[in-house]
């Protein structure tokens, strides 16, 4: 059996990041990706937080083909009769170094795979890893079709479903209840149109989140990220809600309904559909992290459950890059010490000592918190009612501003249920 130092399964951000780190230090690494090229099948919403990962591979982030730095944030509470949008712009976000960028994975992942090859790593595409080769509980390599290749270390970064690692017993079969499904359209729009619709200076970008009517009360929300000359537009939907309500709500028309919503339609008007995609996201958070390593292997990225839905933002790409980085780092350090079995514990420690696992831990109550459907119905509607009353003027004598606002607040927020829920907010 042919043997190499390291095999990386999967050419997403986690796998590419691991392979890049290993190849940079001269290890013989092959990355195996089942798509036509790295990024061909990869789906994300669209926003990569670079600030947490800037010090890992700084040379990459300076040169990477990002779409636009996010300098403006929009959150829209969407109801059937009104919409409240918060627009936030900050000089801090509009200045270098930018903290986050919109990305298109087909471009970014492909570019990263070229950087891996520049460093001497081998990226093999169009090949699916069928299983991990095990010997006495140790992962000793992979099988793809008829071919078997051995490795001292196998880094499994095969994405959220983790079929290969699950089959090998390295993690439990994930429950669909802990997952959300995201579907999105990439819609072409001229650069100037994007910049005028989201009030952007040339080259700068916006992140626009939607809550409420988007998911018809189901757990989830809508997102819209501005790329150079397209927008990534989609919905993330909790699978549990989607399944439970499937008889009453046509899930497959959600995206069209969202697009056609009178307060959303003008944002996407005139765009040409470039691509449609769908993908699963783990919502399990901290509780969903499996054992990160074992004999001969490390798990990274979505395979290691490293994704975070914070409602106003989904994070997973920064976790993927960081876990790939630490997987490479731990492997290299262990190799230097002449004991590869030290890599696993070292990897876990690096992940626990840094923001990677800490951020997931901090956010551990979010999954439970957002199970409350009122977040997607009552609250957006309440806010809409406050503003509707505030901005309403009729031929009747008008109320004072205080009465207008407080009337709504009392009605919608000062009741036992809401107060209890708002107390719960302290946990997140």
């Amino acid at each position: 059996m042919e043997k190499v130092d390291c095999i990386v399964v999967g050419g997403g951000l986690a796998g590419l990041s691991a392979a890049y780190g290993l190849a940079s230090e001269g290890l013989e690494v092959i990355l195996i990706e089942r798509g036509d090229y790295a990024g061909a099948k990869n789906v994300t919403g669209g926003r990569l937080y670079v600030s947490p990962i800037r010090d890992m591979y700084p040379e990459l982030w300076e040169a990477a083909p990002f779409e636009r730095p996010v300098t403006r944030e929009f959150i829209t509470l969407l109801n059937s009769g009104n919409a409240t949008t918060i627009e936030f712009a900050s000089d801090k976000f509009a200045a270098q170094p930018y903290q986050s960028y919109t990305v298109l994975r087909a471009t970014l992942d492909l570019w990263l795979s070229e950087q891996v090859m520049e460093k001497g790593g081998m990226v093999i595409t169009n090949q699916r890893v069928d299983e991990l080769l095990m010997e006495d509980g140790k992962v000793i390599g992979i099988r793809a079709g008829e071919d078997e290749i051995g490795a001292d270390m196998t880094i499994v970064a095969e994405g959220v479903l983790g079929l290969v690692s699950t089959k090998a017993g390295l993690r439990q079969k994930p429950s669909w209840k802990d997952h959300a499904v995201g579907f999105k359209e990439t819609i072409e729009l001229p650069q100037e149109v994007i910049e005028s619709r989201w009030h952007l200076s040339p080259g700068q970008g916006a992140a626009h989140l939607f809550m409420g009517e988007v998911t018809k009360g189901m757990l989830g929300g809508g997102f819209l990220y501005t790329n150079k000359s397209s927008i990534s537009f989609g919905i993330v939907l909790g699978m549990k809600d989607a399944k439970e309500r499937a008889d009453k709500i046509d899930v497959y028309t959600l995206l069209d309904d969202f697009k056609a919503h009178p307060h959303v339609a003008p944002l996407v008007a005139g765009g040409e559909l470039l691509e449609y995609s769908a993908h699963v996201i783990s919502e399990a958070g901290y509780a969903g992290i499996p054992q990160l390593y074992g004999d001969g292997y490390l798990l990274a990225g979505d395979t290691a459950g490293l994704a975070l839905n914070q409602l106003y933002t989904v994070r997973g790409m920064d976790f993927a890059v960081a876990s790939g980085y630490y997987a490479a780092k731990a492997t290299l350090e262990a190799k230097q010490q002449g004991d590869l079995s030290a890599a696993g514990p070292m990897y876990e420690k690096m992940m626990r000592d840094t923001w990677v696992i800490k951020d997931l831990e901090t956010a551990q109550h979010i999954p439970h918190f957002i199970e409350n459907p009122r977040i997607f119905t009552h609250y957006p509607q309440s806010v809409g009612r406050i503003f509707e009353r505030l901005f309403t003027l009729t031929s009747d004598p008008t109320e004072g501003i205080y009465h207008k606002v407080m009337g709504s607040v009392k009605q919608d927020f000062v009741n036992a249920k809401t107060v209890k829920e708002l107390m719960g907010v302290r946990k997140i």
């Binding site: 042919e2 195996i32 036509d36 471009t107 093999i124 169009n126 071919d147």
Partner: protein, 260 residues
């Protein structure tokens, strides 16, 4: 025996979008043409059948900056060696210029017993390279073969001619072009992809094969290559789904598409 397979790499046709009747080629990756994979496969099958045969792939870069990577696919399929002729002048060259460049490269490689082309390129499909190169090298040529055998120093090729099959025999060396029905190209295995990186690849410029930009300068200019614009009927059928179906069926019967 030595077999040379000239192949063309073209932008991945599935990734091309058309806008304002122009293909958008920016950021579209290059691939070895689908039809060219049939010619590579044909050469590999002959290699297996005849034994002691070397299969050499040859290509012109034609704007593909990453051609070395692209050509690995051919090496991963099983070709033993690759030659790449890159030159900016070749991007603008027409079929005559490209055929000349290929012929000169084949001479520089030292010729071959058999040169296997695809019936045409997967993108432009002019189908001229085989016959032109044969003419330039003064070799016999058989076009559109759907079966090839080499035995006793002779090439036998079958061509489908509608209702009948024509069987032709040629001395070697010869040039042959093959159709897509000749075989099902193999998909490279992981092991072979790994080995491909270590196979020899030689890169030449026009000067290396004794040519210059003037020698391959286009003798004709393409003014337009748009497809015929078709006038659509633009019939809109309204109503409920049932009504629409009924109206659609009526309309199709009226147009003679369906029988009443």
């Amino acid at each position: 025996m030595k077999i040379i397979v000239p192949v063309k790499t073209n932008p991945d046709l599935q990734m091309i979008r058309i806008k304002n009747r122009e293909p958008i080629l920016e950021a579209v990756p290059y691939k070895v043409g689908d039809l060219d994979k049939n010619s590579v496969e044909a050469a590999l099958q002959l290699q297996a059948a005849v034994g002691d045969t070397q299969v050499v792939a040859l290509t012109i870069a034609e704007g593909n900056r990453k051609i070395k990577d692209t050509m690995k696919e051919v090496l991963a399929m099983g070709a033993d060696e690759a030659y790449i002729l890159s030159d900016d002048a070749l991007t603008a060259a027409d079929q005559a210029g490209k055929a000349l460049a290929l012929a000169k490269a084949i001479e520089k490689i030292g010729g071959a017993d058999l040169i296997v082309f695809a019936e045409g390129s997967t993108d432009n499909y002019s189908g001229q390279m085989g016959p032109r190169v044969a003419e330039l090298l003064a070799l016999p040529e058989i076009g559109y073969a759907k079966k090839l055998t080499v035995a006793d120093g002779k090439l036998t090729a079958e061509r489908g001619m509608g209702d009948l099959i024509e069987v032709l025999e040629s001395s070697l060396p010869a040039v042959v072009t093959v159709t897509s029905e000749i075989n099902e190209p193999r998909i490279p295995t992981l092991m072979n992809i790994m080995k491909a990186g270590k196979k020899p690849t030689t890169e030449w410029t026009l000067g290396d094969v004794g040519l210059d930009a003037a020698a391959v300068a286009p003798q004709k200019a393409v003014l337009s290559n748009l497809a015929e614009e078709q006038q659509r009927k633009n019939v809109m059928i309204e109503g409920s789904a049932e009504e629409q179906c009924a109206a659609l069926i009526d309309a199709l019967i009226k147009d003679g598409v369906l029988e009443a």
